[in-house]
């Protein structure tokens, strides 16, 4: 149960609510009984099928009901196949020559489209239901004429409504393979999402999965990050991405210097930005590894000490690095 505020009620309200709840519970239990009593491997009861849809719209997490609906869909697919058994069939589609066959296919498609609409209803009510997302993909995979393009556009629309819904991002990824979107288009999409909202970790993540960074792309990624952190230095998303970019073996000393200078400018504006100080630590700490001179060790130590004060929640994390620097100092000496 997530994000459900407890509300204080009067005795009267409580009784009323209890009555309503009893009604809902009875409806649920009666519905389940009806469905389960008619569930069998060779046929289905349309009334039960309709009830299962009603119950799922209210609660899409009742996984057994999605299973039941899949069984029914498989029955319908089988029926469609056997009804056009005299003609050539491919994935449930009849040979187009006979009118009768055409009608059978039409009927099947209408049935599946209704099912897709049901998942949409469920997803609008609860966009994070694993069951609804999986059911939708499963239908599409069994659909004789799947409209993947439509699914793709729906994803884009949903992501504009909530750009952090990882189910939707995952679904998008599944569809990409089906419609053969180009990498360039997806990079463009992630740039658009990031520009709409820099504080969108999901888009930054998505970006990281699209390609391996090379010399050319590194430059543009660094620019995008700088843009984001100057817009809102307190937002963490771009900083995580920066740490990843910094770990890239193609990073040159030139890149590091340029970044370091930009961060110094930002530090002048925002002297207490923990992210900025931390990023400085990464730049100076990563790669230099073994051959740090005393000044560099001193500067890193200073930064980590500042971080200890600025961000006391993560004292243990900063101390870990301070201890490492301390032993490095001893080794050098």
């Amino acid at each position: 149960m997530h994000g459900r505020l407890k509300v204080r009620t009067t005795e009267e309200q409580r009784l009323l609510k209890e009555k309503e709840q009893q009604k809902k519970l009875t409806a649920y239990q009666t519905g389940m009984k009806q469905i389960l009593s008619t569930r069998n491997p060779t046929s289905y009861d349309p009334k039960s099928f309709a009830i299962s849809a009603q119950l799922l719209v209210v609660n899409p997490d009742i996984y057994t009901l999605w299973n039941y609906r899949k069984e029914v869909i498989l029955l319908e697919l089988d029926k469609s196949k056997s009804e056009c058994k005299d003609t050539i069939i491919d994935n449930g589609i009849c040979d187009e020559k006979s009118q009768e066959s055409l009608d059978v296919t039409k009927g099947l498609i209408k049935f599946l489209e209704n099912e897709i609409r049901l998942t949409e209803q469920c997803l609008l009510a609860n966009p994070k239901s694993y069951g609804s997302w999986h059911h939708r993909y499963w239908i599409m995979e069994h659909h004789p004429e799947p409209n993947w393009q439509n699914e793709f556009e729906l994803c884009t629309k949903y992501l504009t409504m909530d750009d952090r819904n990882f189910h939707c991002w995952d679904y998008r990824r599944l569809i990409l393979n089906k419609i053969g979107m180009s990498l360039e288009d997806e990079i463009k999409f992630s740039t658009e999402r990031i520009n709409v909202n820099f504080s969108n970790y999901s888009s930054w993540h998505y970006r990281s999965t699209l390609r391996k960074l090379d010399k050319d792309s590194l430059e543009s990624e660094i620019n995008l990050i700088m843009n984001a952190i100057f817009t809102d230095p307190a937002d963490s998303s771009a900083w995580f991405y920066l740490r990843w970019v910094l770990s890239n073996p193609e990073m040159t000393e030139g890149h590091r210097k340029q970044l370091s200078q930009t961060l110094d400018q930002l530090l002048e504006l925002e002297p207490d930005s923990k992210w900025c100080l931390l990023a400085k630590c990464w730049i100076n700490g990563i790669k230099k590894g073994e051959n740090m001179n005393e000044d560099q060790i001193e500067e890193l130590t200073e930064n980590y000490k500042k971080l200890l004060i600025l961000d006391p929640l993560r004292k243990g994390f900063y101390s870990h690095y301070l201890n490492a620097l301390e032993s490095k100092k001893l080794n050098n000496a």
Partner: protein, 332 residues
């Protein structure tokens, strides 16, 4: 210019001490009757619900207050004789999530003999795909949650060799991200719940060597917000269940001390319901057994004296894991 961080405020009136007796009462009362609304409407997650409540009670040494034989009898009825899998409830379908919960309960009771163990092993093994991943049931949904459920179940039954472990590891490894975290499938965004599943998986299979320890530990410790609570992904609200997913993950990779225990304790305690008992996701919300277990388990990892030691990999009492002579890997 700066957008305020998403967080909550810990108010002075929120509870500051552990309301142990109230939680015991809360769990005991939960599910007294199928006619109770919340309980009756959630039969589709019953066996997992029983695991949450039962483990919570055992962590505070009150397991005796539940009708043991009734619980075991119920689980027996939930095992599907054909596939060997266990369902959430009678009349529901078998699923890996509930199969693990059932095995966890029976291990706590030391009564694994009560079910058809070979059936369970056959069921789990039947769900592995050629790429090493696992589906939750026969309908094909793939997720790293199920990889964890599979190896946790099999290791509790001492039959990890029933599946292709190397392939399973390969799949989990392919779900590692730029930030060191893991998602539900390859290239899926990192999420603390799934990170716990993947680290738990690697802990059970002894393959934590593939983890980028400090990159991941930093991402995890950044989940702590000013309120002390932990969120599951960047820029999200804190939630008691993430106290568990993040904390157990940090424990497994040996970096528990990278967050502030004191402020986290304050947050978790603030999420207790002073009237009914139980923990909610955030202060003032409705409590439930799920958050009650994860609240208590997190407090156990933080060294709360009144709570038994919990194992971070299995989310079960440590003494049960010791009794089974299991030694899930942890990093230093």
């Amino acid at each position: 210019m700066a957008v305020p961080l998403k967080d909550i405020e810990i108010k002075e009136e929120y509870p500051k001490t552990l309301l142990l007796e109230k939680h015991i009462k809360f769990i005991k009362q939960y599910g007294q009757s199928e006619n109770d609304f919340e309980y009756g409407m959630t039969d589709y997650l019953r066996v997992s619900g029983m695991y949450w409540g039962l483990t919570a009670l055992e962590l505070v040494d009150k397991l005796d207050s539940l009708p043991k034989e009734e619980v075991i009898g119920f689980i027996q009825k939930c095992q599907d004789p054909e596939t060997g899998g266990i369902s959430a409830c009678i009349d529901h379908d078998p699923h890996l999530l509930h199969t693990l919960s059932a095995v966890q309960i029976l291990c706590i009771y030391n009564r694994i003999d009560a079910i058809d163990v070979e059936g369970v092993i056959k069921y789990v093994a039947s769900l592995q795909l050629p790429d090493g991943s696992f589906t939750g049931d026969k309908w094909g949904e793939v997720d790293t949650r199920f990889s964890f459920c599979a190896v946790a179940t099999l290791s509790l039954l001492k039959r990890l060799n029933a599946i292709n472990v190397d392939k399973a590891v390969e799949f989990v490894k392919s779900c590692m991200n730029f930030d060191g975290g893991f998602g539900s499938r390859p290239k899926s965004e990192s999420h603390a719940g799934l990170i716990y599943c993947c680290l738990g998986f690697l802990s059970v299979t002894g393959r934590l060597d593939i983890v980028e320890q400090d990159t991941l530990a930093w991402w995890l410790c950044e989940r702590q917000l000013s309120s002390g609570g932990l969120n599951g992904r960047p820029e999200k609200l804190p939630d008691v269940c993430y106290s568990w997913w993040v904390l157990s993950s940090l424990s497994i990779i040996g970096r528990l001390h990278w967050i502030s225990s004191e402020t986290l304790k304050r947050f978790i305690l603030a999420c207790q319901d002073t009237e009914s008992g139980g923990f909610a996701d955030r202060p003032g919300d409705i409590p439930d057994p799920f958050h009650t277990l994860f609240g208590l388990a997190a407090l156990s990892l933080l060294g709360f004296g009144d709570i038994k030691q919990v194992n971070p990999t299995y989310c079960m009492p440590q003494y049960v894991i010791d009794r089974l002579q299991l030694k899930p890997q942890v990093l230093k």
